[in-house]
């Protein structure tokens, strides 16, 4: 955002980002050495990257609300509700475009309700989104009675879109570049730039850093709060579209527990529950790190049962490290 944020970037986030980058590289190198053929292959990297897009988008959503001192526990279930809505409509013969936008409407509606209850009614984000988490998941289940919703009648391009790849020839070997991955990266890159450079979005940081001061500085806090929950909802919707398209199924149990993964990734990436900080690059690296660890876990034939413990351990390690660094930089 503005110079201060750059400066903050310089003084805190970027060292953190540099560090995250380092860790990622380290993990990468480690795996590349241990399992060269399996890990370093394009197929694997491609899979890792394109499969982390969903978590990535949800983590972005989480980052945006964290910046304004919020939290959104409902990302996972709104994802499910959105996916289910789109799938049901397409199953019943609604063309893709309107169906997808109906999904957007649903996601935004959830975001708006979150935002209004938080900004206007002044209820804590944690409780509001906790309620929404349960409501959205419930609605998704009610709508589908929990069944897979496939939509054979939908235009083919939608179901292919999720897995479309550009074939790129380097030397005599072909590399498939997944279109969704490219789009997601582009969107996130763009959003990251705007968030840091577009006054409209940069103000989110002020709102999170000190709502009272922001208000007296002529920033319309309520609107920015609501806006951030809407932005988050948009990211969630995006994830839902990709997931529905890629799996060709609408399902009420999509994204169970995703909110915690997203939160963890965002925190690892440098966002803070107390608002005012958070960086797109950091979050990206956080998600990437978790994805690489998950992937490496299996490549090293780790005991599948320990898989689920890794996220928590990484999270705690990250905050512990932060604490240590804070003591050294002295605040």
């Amino acid at each position: 955002m503005n110079s201060s944020e750059t400066s903050m970037v310089h003084r805190f986030v970027s060292t953190r980002e540099a560090l995250l980058l380092l860790i990622n590289v380290a993990i990468f190198a480690f795996l590349a050495i241990m399992r060269p053929e399996a890990f370093a292959s394009w197929t694997n990297l491609k899979a890792v990257l394109s499969l982390m897009t969903y978590d990535l988008l949800l983590a972005m959503a989480m980052t945006v609300v964290l910046i304004v001192r919020g939290i959104d526990l409902s990302v996972g279930s709104v994802l499910a509700l959105t996916s289910v809505t789109m799938a049901l409509l397409m199953r019943d013969g609604v063309p893709v475009i309107p169906a997808v936008f109906a999904g957007l409407a649903v996601a935004l509606a959830c975001g708006l309700i979150n935002g209004l209850l938080i900004a206007k009614a002044g209820i804590l984000p944690f409780l509001v989104t906790l309620g929404m988490m349960s409501v959205a998941r419930g609605l998704a289940t009610v709508l589908t009675t929990g069944q897979y919703i496939s939509f054979p009648r939908a235009e083919r391009w939608f179901t292919q879109f999720g897995r479309f790849e550009f074939r790129l020839q380097i030397g005599d070997s072909f590399y498939g570049i997944p279109l969704p991955l490219l789009i997601v990266l582009a969107v996130i890159l763009l959003f990251g730039l705007l968030l840091n450079n577009l006054p409209l979005l940069s103000r989110l940081f002020y709102v999170g850093e000190s709502p009272e001061a922001a208000k007296l500085s002529g920033i319309r806090v309520d609107r920015h709060l609501i806006a951030s929950y809407l932005i988050a909802a948009a990211f969630v919707w995006f994830a839902a579209v990709l997931m529905t398209s890629a799996t060709r199924i609408g399902y009420a149990n999509y994204g169970i527990g995703a909110e915690l993964r997203a939160l963890a990734a965002a925190i690892v990436g440098g966002a803070s529950i107390s608002g005012g900080s958070g960086s797109i690059v950091g979050t990206f690296l956080g998600v990437l790190m978790l994805a690489l660890i998950g992937n490496g876990f299996i490549l090293m034939n780790g005991n599948p049962n320990w898989q689920q413990a890794t996220v928590g351990i990484v999270l705690i390690a990250a905050v512990a490290f932060d604490a240590v660094r804070r003591y050294r930089t002295g605040w």
Binding site: R35, E37, L51, G146, S150, A246, T247, Y254, N295
Partner: protein, 308 residues
């Protein structure tokens, strides 16, 4: 007071409320109940939490249902509740997933071991000794564990040289399934079969084969699904899935109800309203298993799922 006038009420308890499989089972349960004018309800968690099932059973007993058919998310967890119900003379039976240590009337359903065995056998016959299988599983569910044992045994029975070389935890999540199976295939390129030990990973596993470019051609990976959801069946028809293990959930439901009904009406059998092998102890009912492959008429038949 009202309870008496009202029609007899029976309940089904599942650990994955709303999954297509249990919807089929409940549909059978419902339809069978209709034939004798009884009413039914479906209870249970949507997250594999067997303790929630146990609580559901208790509540139904307290509420005063005539009988309960429960599929045990965890065999041991349900023992106490099932026994309590039986002691309060509310007949309880298990279907699909058994709780053998409990006092349940009987178990209705496919013996999961046998079903797994059949799948393993089919694969063994297809690939012979060079079958190299990876398994996508959700840890901690008894049925899943039995299926895996069955699969291994079935494989060995026809192809002693065949091996299961990797197991991954898909956390029962479609999207996770794609991640872990892709990784599994990367780690073990020699895998030529993915055995899905429960309903959810099938689509993910298939996607995984696509990710590593082995969803067609001569080194296509055979994905063995364990589901009769429409998308899976479509996949079978289009030859994406080599086979899917089809139990007969609808018949499980029907049989479950008839058993409960007859337990509640211990009569001599004369007609449908008095089927009552009530006094005659009934053995477990195996509702059988079928390995569905491309072109099987049953696939078409299953395409229109029950609406609840």
């Amino acid at each position: 007071a009202r309870a008496q006038e009202a029609p007899e009420h029976y309940a089904m308890v599942v650990f994955l409320k709303g999954s297509e499989f249990f919807n089929w089972a409940y549909a059978g349960f419902q339809d069978a109940a209709k034939t004798v004018g009884a009413t039914t309800e479906l209870q249970g968690p949507a997250d594999w939490d067997a303790s929630a099932e146990a609580r559901a059973v208790d509540q139904l007993v307290a509420k005063g249902v005539k009988g309960i058919a429960v599929t045990a998310g965890d065999a041991d967890t349900l023992v106490a509740s099932i026994n309590a119900a039986m002691d309060k003379s509310v007949p309880v039976l298990t279907f699909d997933s058994d709780s053998p240590k409990s006092k349940r009337l009987l178990f209705v359903g496919t013996n999961n071991f046998n079903a797994g065995f059949a799948a393993g056998k089919a694969i063994g016959e297809k690939h012979g000794d060079n079958a190299r299988a990876g398994i996508s599983l959700f840890p901690g569910n008894d049925a899943v564990n039995q299926r895996i044992q069955g699969f291994k045994a079935g494989l060995a029975s026809v192809a002693p040289g065949a091996k299961v070389i990797a197991e991954v935890n898909d956390e029962g999540d479609l999207q996770k399934a794609e991640q872990v199976n892709t990784a599994m295939l990367q780690a073990n390129p020699e895998i030529n079969v993915i055995f899905c030990a429960h309903g959810n990973p099938a689509t993910g596993a298939l996607a995984a084969t696509r990710n590593v470019g082995r969803d067609q051609g001569d080194n296509k990976i055979d994905v063995v699904a364990w589901a009769i959801d429409v998308p899976i069946l479509l996949g079978v028809q289009e030859g994406e899935f080599t086979m899917t293990v089809a139990q007969n959930p609808y018949m499980m439901g029907v049989q479950s109800f008839l058993q409960l009904w007859s337990a509640a009406h211990p009569t001599q059998f004369d007609n449908m309203n008095h089927p009552g092998f009530g006094n005659v102890p009934t053995a477990d009912l195996d509702t059988g298993v079928k390995i569905l492959m491309q072109g099987d008429p049953a696939v078409e038949a299953l395409m229109t799922p029950p609406q609840l």
